[in-house]
Symmetry: C2
Subunit: 510 residues, 2 copies
Amino acid sequence: MKCVVVDYNATANIYARPVEGVVMVVDLDRMAIIGYRDRAVFMVPKAEGTDYRADKVGPPFTGPAAPPGVVVQPDGRGFHVHGHLVKWANWEFHVGFDMRAGTVISLASVNDTDAGGLQRRVLYRGFVSEIFVPYMDPEEEWYFHTFTDAGEYGLGALASQLQRGADCPANAVYMDGYYAGSDGKPVKAEDVICLFERYAGDVAWRHTNGIGLGGLFSEVRPDVTLVVRMVVTVGNYDYTLDSEFKTVGSIKIVVSLSGILEMKAINYTHVDQIREDTHGTLITENTIGVYHDHFVTYHLDLDIDGTRNSFIKNNIVPKRNTGVRATGGAPTPRRSYWTVLYEVAETEAEGQVNINSAPADLLFVNPSKKTKIGNEVGYRLIPTGATATSLLADDDYPERRASYTKKQVWVTPYNKSEKWTSGLYAEQSTGDDNLAAWSKRNRSIKDEDIVLWYTVGLHHVPYQEDFPVMPTISGALEVRPSNFFERNPLIRTKPPENSPNCSCSIGGSA
Amino acid sequence: MKCVVVDYNATANIYARPVEGVVMVVDLDRMAIIGYRDRAVFMVPKAEGTDYRADKVGPPFTGPAAPPGVVVQPDGRGFHVHGHLVKWANWEFHVGFDMRAGTVISLASVNDTDAGGLQRRVLYRGFVSEIFVPYMDPEEEWYFHTFTDAGEYGLGALASQLQRGADCPANAVYMDGYYAGSDGKPVKAEDVICLFERYAGDVAWRHTNGIGLGGLFSEVRPDVTLVVRMVVTVGNYDYTLDSEFKTVGSIKIVVSLSGILEMKAINYTHVDQIREDTHGTLITENTIGVYHDHFVTYHLDLDIDGTRNSFIKNNIVPKRNTGVRATGGAPTPRRSYWTVLYEVAETEAEGQVNINSAPADLLFVNPSKKTKIGNEVGYRLIPTGATATSLLADDDYPERRASYTKKQVWVTPYNKSEKWTSGLYAEQSTGDDNLAAWSKRNRSIKDEDIVLWYTVGLHHVPYQEDFPVMPTISGALEVRPSNFFERNPLIRTKPPENSPNCSCSIGGSA
C-alpha cells in the first residue's frame, strides 16, 4: 500500500500540512516499509488558519449566524419505528445497515388511498453502491488517488455518529447500525442513522382561483417530508446521504458533500508565481486544492407496483408542422412543436443514458399494470443537478474499474451477485467485474426485474471558500409517480390548521 | 384577442371542462366579437373529480398527511425589516415590488467578518424578467398558446395573497406590494411577499476527525437560510418564486411550479383508442394535458465586489498524460486527467452558454479585486435541475420573440432599457427587441457592468398525477462565492447550543 506523509503536530486538520514529495510503500502482511521515495522538497504549509475546532476559532465567534430555531410537533411525531420497519403518512419501508453500503432502504411501498388503501411497492432495495473519487494530478504522489470508497473502506464502517441538533434537527430519532467487524465480532455503530420530519416551508400543491364558481380563493397544502439520513466520513470527505420520502409518492435522494479537501504542498505563495499546470487551485499559501471528481452511484432496485418492470425513454423530439392533420400537424401559422416518442429499452445497451445528451423523460413502468384510462403505471427519474460524467480516458487504469461513470443511467436485469458497481473486490480491480462489464452481455431488460444504477457526479474545482473545511454542496435525484396514481394523491389531504402558540426554555420545561 | 370557451357551471376548476373546437376573436377596443369559428365537436369532460376545494373533497380527508409542525425561535427572528431594507445574519438587501416583475431584490451585499466587517456588494438588482410558456399543439385552438406571462399580464399584478401557515410557515413576516393600476391609481397588493428563516435540517459544513491532534471529534454547523417568497398565479399556473440567502454567501433562486394544466377536450376515454399524436397525455377521460414548456428567465445584475465584472468560463477539459512535467504530465502509469482552461468572455457572443454542452465552472469575477494570494474574487453559477432549452424552430413565431430560450446563459453589458427579455412590448412582439436581438451587437462584456440572464427551463410532459391540480416541481440556480472570501466564511460561526424544550397550544398561550 502506498502511504503519504503529513505533519499534524500543530493542527487537527491532518490534510492541511502534507510533507509533499515523499511516498512510502508498505507491505501490509509484513507490516514493513518496503519502498521509500523522496522525489522533491516542498514547503510545508503553515498551521495557522487550518484548525476548525470551535475552541480554536473562538471565542469570539465572529462568523455569521441565525438565531436558534427548533421544529416543534405539538401532536408528536408522525412516524413509527417497529424494529427496522418505518411507517409514516402513506409510506412503509425497512431501514437496514450494511458494512459496505451503510443505510439500505428496502421494501418501500406507498399507500394508495384512492384505491382503497392498497399498499403498492415502489422500491425493492436501494443503497449507495460506490463512491468513486479520482484526483486529477498525474504526479508520482498523486496519480493513485483514485478512491472507491465503498469497496475499499466501507461506507457503513465509516458512518459517523450523528451529532444531535447539528447533523439532524431536534425532532429526529436515531438508529444504531450493526455489522461484522474484521475480527468477525459484531460491531455496534451508535446513532449512525437518523429519521426526521422535515418542515422546510415548501408547498406540496396550490392554486389561486380568480373567476367562476367559488370566485377568489386559494387552496394550498404545505409539504412535509420524512428524511432518512446517514453521514459517511471517508477520510477527508463527509457525505451526508439522505433518502427523502414525500407524501406525493416521490423518493428524493440527496448527496451533500462537506469535509476537507485533499491538499498538495507547493512552494508558491501567490497566483502570480505560477507558470505551469498545478492540477488544482491555490487556496491558501503553499497549498493547492487538487482537482477531482465525486461519483456517487446508487443501486436502486425499483419494483414499480410489482417486480417486472420496463425502462421507457419518452424522447422529447422537435417536429415541423406539416400543416396536415393526418401527420400530426394543422393548417395554422405555427411552424414547429415537440412531441414525445415512446421507446422501450429492449436490452442493456438501450438502458444506458447520458442525460445531458438529449431531452427525454425516463420512466420505469409496470407494463402489466395500467391506470383505468390505460396508461402504464410508472415512476420517472428527475435528475437535480450534479450530472457530471467522467472525463478520464477509457484506457486509464482508474477509469477501467469505474467505466460506468461515463453515463449517469444504467439499467440491468436483477442479478444477486451484481451489487457493487466497481466489482465485489474493488481494491486493485481491473474492470472485469463492474457494471459496464456485466452490461456487455446486453441482457433483456424489458418486462424484467430491473435495477436502476444512477450516478450523482460532480467535477470539483476547489475555491478558497473550501478551506479549511468546505461548505456543503449538493446533488440529487428523484423518482416520482408518473401515471402511477389515478390522480394527484394529495387532493384529499386536509388543509393546515391554525399554527399553535409555543413557548420554549433551554434545559427545562416551558 | 383570441378567446376559448369553457364550462364552469359545475366545478371551480375552470380549465377542466373546455368546449373544444370553438375560438372567438374579440376586438378589445370595440368590445365586440368579430370572429367565431366552430371547427369541430368534442365531448366536454365530466365535472366529477375536477374540483379541488377542501369542502368539495372532504370530509373525510383521506389523503396522506404528516402531523402539524411549527418552527419556534425562542430568541425571536434573526432578521430586521426597515421599510424595504432587510438585514439578516451577514446579508443586507432591499426588497421592492414591480407590476411586471413582482419581487425585485436589489443592493444585496454580504458582510465579510474576516475583512473587518466590510459590506461587499453581490447583486445590484435581480428579478424575473419573463416567463415564456409555449404549448406544443399546432391545432387551430392551440397554436397561439405561447404566453409571455410577465410581459402580457405582469407577475406583480398577478401575485397571490400568501396564505399564512400554508404558502409560508408560521415564522414568516409579510410585506405588501404597491403598483400603479391601469387607471393610474395606486394598487395595494396585500401580503404578496413573505420572508422567513428556513430551518430545513441541512448542514452548512461538517467534518468528523479520526486521528491525530484532537482524536475523534465532529464539528458540525447546521444551516439556516432566509427565504424571500412570492407566488404568482398566471391563470392556470402557480409559480412559487424564492430567493434564498445563505450565510455561506450564496443566493439560491428556486422556481416551484404548481397549479392546473391547460387541458384539451378529446373524444377518447382510454389510451387504446388513440391512434394519432394528441400533443399531450390522456390524464383523465376525455381530457388531454397538452405538452408545453416553462422558461423562467431571470435578470441578475451581479455586481461582484463592485460594478465592473468579467464573465469567466473555467472549461473542464480532458488531457492525456504526456509523461513529461514540462507539459503538465508526469512519468507515472496514469494516462489521463482533466484540467481547467481559463477563458474570459470578451463579447456577448462568448457570453452565451448551453450549460449541457460541455463541463465548465461559470464565474463572475471582479478583475480588479484579488484575494491576498492573487485569485480573482468571484461568484460561480450552479444550475440545479430544470436546464431544458427550447426545441422550437428558429423561424417559428413564438420562438422569434423568445429566441433567447435556446441557451440558459446570456451575459450582456448593463443597459437601462434592457430589462424585459422578450422586449418592452411583449404582446405581438416579433423578436426585434429581445435579449437575442440586443446581443447581436456583440458588445464588450469584459470588465464591464454586466448582467446575467439565466433561464430555468422545463419540458412538461403531463402525467395523471398532475390532475386536477399538479404537485409542485422545482428547478433552481445558485450563485456561490468562489474565491470571494479568503476562506470558508462560516469557520468562525458558533456551534449550536442545546435544543430548547417547547410546549404548544392551539389558539392560546403555552
